[in-house]
């Protein structure tokens, strides 16, 4: 099955909303560090959960380029396509 960026973005948002500290009004364009107040360790730990959910590994160097939830979703979709 191939997920779209929208599917993955929705999955990430759902996962984030399970954390009561995350603002309720997040969207795909929310910035992970600024809007969610995640520090570097929290980002890496959260991405690990998403990786397991979607059976994909996001290398840390790719993570450095990611700012929004949609960026993360796009990165995961491209990794799953093998690029």
């Amino acid at each position: 099955m191939s997920e779209t960026v929208q599917d993955v973005s929705a999955l990430i948002i759902n996962k984030l909303l399970a954390n009561p500290k995350v603002p309720r009004d997040i969207t795909g364009s929310s910035k992970i560090v600024e809007d969610l107040a995640f520090d570097s360790l929290a980002v890496m730990n959260f991405v690990m959960e998403i990786e397991d959910e979607l059976d994909v590994s996001v290398p840390l160097d790719r993570l450095a380029e990611i700012r929004t939830i949609d960026d993360l979703a796009e990165c995961i979709v491209s990794l799953k396509k093998g690029s």
Partner: protein, 398 residues
């Protein structure tokens, strides 16, 4: 916009820390060590339970004499890097000494343990390769991952199944895979499940590097670390470690049976472009290694002391790491509680390390303690008693 704007957040947090406890926990000065276990801090005799000096060898008379002799004979520095003018016969002797201790053919000595990890990992895992790191890795390992050009993948802390899963995801990718684990994790004292990690290495064909910084001289029948303790030394491709803990000096090393380690010397920037260890440090390190080998009872004393301290803290209802090791991380719930407790401990004459998130796993603050072979039972009991006293002084809401 100032170039210093990026530091304002830390400036604010430091001010809050000092306001909450009265001290800057990152600027504690040990005015003078009286022995390996007691130092003068703020003019008071203070029990040292946070110095990583596991065998007490920073005060080894044999190492002191060797350093003095080396300084008199050779001067105080080399003024050069290993590949330029900074290699003396002592460097080669030390490398032979360390290689022989580990029963390995090759050794590279670095100027610090940090540089050993930084250099080895960033050089071995190159462009197109994969570097697999434990999530709770030391900063030197994370920094190595940024200096090098490999794709970096984290696996869950001390979880060989998770490592295997992540290696399986990239099994068809062409690059080499370097797995890095630590013998004892420096914040929590957790010991790596080494036999299981070695099994994953065998099954997947990955290259395995073990950082024995906190386990060298501590674990294994001969002090060679966690790989010796688990009986899997032949599965480990590279052992990295430091002289600044069990041997009480400074410097780092990597040992291996791979002859290519000699080629790493010519690719490894943190080795090539820094001054080499000075003669007195090398002489003291070799003497401390002799001391360590001549006194295997130091290791059993250390583990007995670790068990006593661990049990004492658990007896007070404090949460510590999963395994008994000389690193005892007391896990606390809130940062204000950790700050108050740390300050009270120091005022009562006990020095431990305050570790705050995000430098700690799971967002919990830690009071990181390290036990020594040279602590007496009375000193350990006294340290536990100081913890009891400090806990009783915490306000209920902290």
């Amino acid at each position: 916009m100032s170039i210093f704007d990026k530091f304002r957040g830390v400036e604010r947090r430091l001010a809050e820390l000092q306001a909450a406890g009265g001290r800057n926990p990152f600027a504690v000065v040990i005015e003078r060590p009286l022995s390996s276990t007691v130092g003068i801090i703020e003019g008071r005799e203070t029990l040292l339970f946070g110095t990583n000096n596991y065998l007490g060898l920073s005060q080894s008379p044999r190492a002191v004499e060797a350093a003095i002799e080396a300084v008199r004979a050779r001067g105080v520095g080399t003024t050069g890097s290993r590949i330029a003018n900074g290699t003396q016969s002592l460097h080669e002797q030390l490398e032979q000494h360390i290689a022989s201790f580990f029963h390995q053919k090759h050794c590279m000595v670095f100027s610090t343990g940090y540089q050993a990890n930084l250099g080895m990992i960033s050089t071995l895992a190159g462009k197109g390769d994969y570097l697999l790191l434990d999530a709770d890795s030391h900063a030197s390992i994370y920094d190595a991952s940024r200096l090098g050009h490999a794709q970096v993948i984290r696996f869950r802390h001390n979880d060989p199944d998770d490592l295997q899963k992540r290696l399986n995801r990239i099994k068809d990718e062409p690059g080499a895979k370097l797995v890095v684990v630590e013998g004892i994790y420096s914040m929590t004292g957790n010991v790596v499940p080494m036999a299981e990690m070695a099994a994953v290495k065998r099954e997947t064909g990955a290259t395995l590097l073990v950082d024995e910084a906190h386990s060298f001289g501590v674990l294994g029948p001969n002090g060679r670390g966690v790989a010796e303790a688990a009986g899997v030394e032949s599965d480990v491709d590279f052992v990295v470690g430091t002289f600044s803990k069990s041997l009480g000096t400074v410097g780092g090393y990597c040992v291996s049976n791979h002859p290519e380690l000699e080629l790493v010397r010519l690719h490894c920037r943190p080795y090539m472009f820094t001054a080499s260890l000075p003669p007195e440090v090398i002489a003291a390190t070799m003497a401390a290694l002799d001391d360590m080998q001549a006194q295997p009872q130091l290791r059993s004393q250390l583990m007995d002391n670790a068990a006593r301290f661990h049990a004492g803290l658990n007896g007070l209802g404090l949460t510590t790491g999963q395994t008994v090791s000389p690193v005892v991380g007391v896990v606390l719930e809130t940062i204000p509680e950790a700050i108050m407790l740390w300050n009270t401990l120091l005022s009562l004459g006990l020095y431990v390390n305050l570790s705050l998130p995000p430098a700690t796993p799971d967002h919990h603050p830690l009071l990181r303690c390290s036990v020594m072979a040279t602590h007496t039972s009375e000193q350990i009991d006294r340290a536990v008693e100081i913890f009891r006293e400090a806990l009783s002084r915490l306000p209920a809401a902290a």
